[in-house]
Symmetry: C2
Amino acid sequence: MRYRKVPDETVRRLPLYLRGLRFFSEQSPDHVSSKILAEFLGINPWQVRKDLSYFGEMGTPGVGYKVKTLTNQNQRILRLDSVHNAVLVGVGNLGSAVLAYQGFRTYGIEIVVAYDSSPAKIGSKINGVEVKDISEMWQLNELDIDLGIISVPGGAAQSIADELISAGIKGILNLAPDYIRVPKKIKVISIDIAMDFARLPYYIPAS
Amino acid sequence: MRYRKVPDETVRRLPLYLRGLRFFSEQSPDHVSSKILAEFLGINPWQVRKDLSYFGEMGTPGVGYKVKTLTNQNQRILRLDSVHNAVLVGVGNLGSAVLAYQGFRTYGIEIVVAYDSSPAKIGSKINGVEVKDISEMWQLNELDIDLGIISVPGGAAQSIADELISAGIKGILNLAPDYIRVPKKIKVISIDIAMDFARLPYYIPAS
C-alpha cells in the first residue's frame, strides 16, 4: 500500500504518535480517541486528526482509532517495519550515551558498529557494539548499513559525513554542532542541544 | 524595544540564524544577503526573509542585512543578551556530555550546578561544575537559576521536573525519553534522539 506524501512537520510527529500508541497498546484498549492521544502527547486534538488523516484510515466517531492498525500503519509509513542497521562515529561522552541507550531498538534501528580514533577505545565493546579504528571506515562498504550517527567534536563532522556517504550511508543523524553539506539524495537530521536550549529563555517571562 | 509575537517555527530557527550570523561576523563582512545566509544554513531564502521580517529591520536590496545589527536583535529577541543560569540533573553519559560541551556558553547560558544520586559522582567536579546530592535539590530555591536540564534515565524525568518547578525553575530542557506534564507557565523543550533518528528511514529510498 502506498501513502500520499506526508509533510515534514507531520513526519516529525509520527515517532511521537508511535510512542503514544505503544503506550496505549500496553494499557490494552482497542481504540483511542484523538483527544486522549493529543492529551497524552501534549499537542492539539485537531493536529492529531489532521496528521492521522495521512494514514488513510479514519477514526470512528465516538470510538476513536484502532490502536493496533494505527501502530502498524505508522511503522510502515516511517519504514520502521524492517530492521535498519546503523554505524556510530565518535565514542566520546555523547557517543557512549547513544550506544548505551536502548531507545533505538524499539524503533527497529540497530547500531552494529562504532568507530573512534582513540587507541584507548579501539577494540573495546560498549553495550555489545565493537569500537573499530576510524581509519578502517572504508570497510563499511561491505556491510549492509544505511544509517550513520555522527557524534564527533565540532569541526570534524563534515569529513566524517563525506566518508560515510562514500561508504554508502544514505541517512545521517548529526549530533555534532556543525552544519554539514551533503548531496541532495542524502538525508541529514541534525540535533544541536545548545541550539534547542537557547530557545528556552524566549519563553520565560523576565523576573 | 518590543517585537511582535514570533511564531514557534521561527523561534526554532533563530538560534540557527545566530550561529550563521556569528560565522559571518568572524569572516568580517558588514552585510549578508538572505540568499547567502540561506545557503549557509541549508534553508530557503524566502524563509529567511520571512523569519527576519519579525526583527523590524529590513535588509537593503542588493546589499543585504547588517550582520552586527541583526545579531544584536536576534540575541535580544531570544533574551540571550543577559546571562541565564542553569542546573543539570543526572550526570550519566549524556549529562556528562552536556557538561563537557562548551556550546551553551556561546548563547549566554551557564550551567552552575549539577545533581546526581550516585555516591561515586557526588562531590566531584565535571568541567568546573560541582555535582551535588540529588536529595539537596530543594536548595536550588536559594540560587538565581531559571533553567533546568533533565538528563536522567527514562521513567525518572517527571519527578525531577516536579522538584525543579517547585524550586523555581521556569524552563526545562528534557533529554530523558519521557513525556513530562508541567503547569502552563512552564516551558519544556524535549529532545529524544531516538525519535529524531526514527524519522530517517522515511526519507531513505528502499534499496
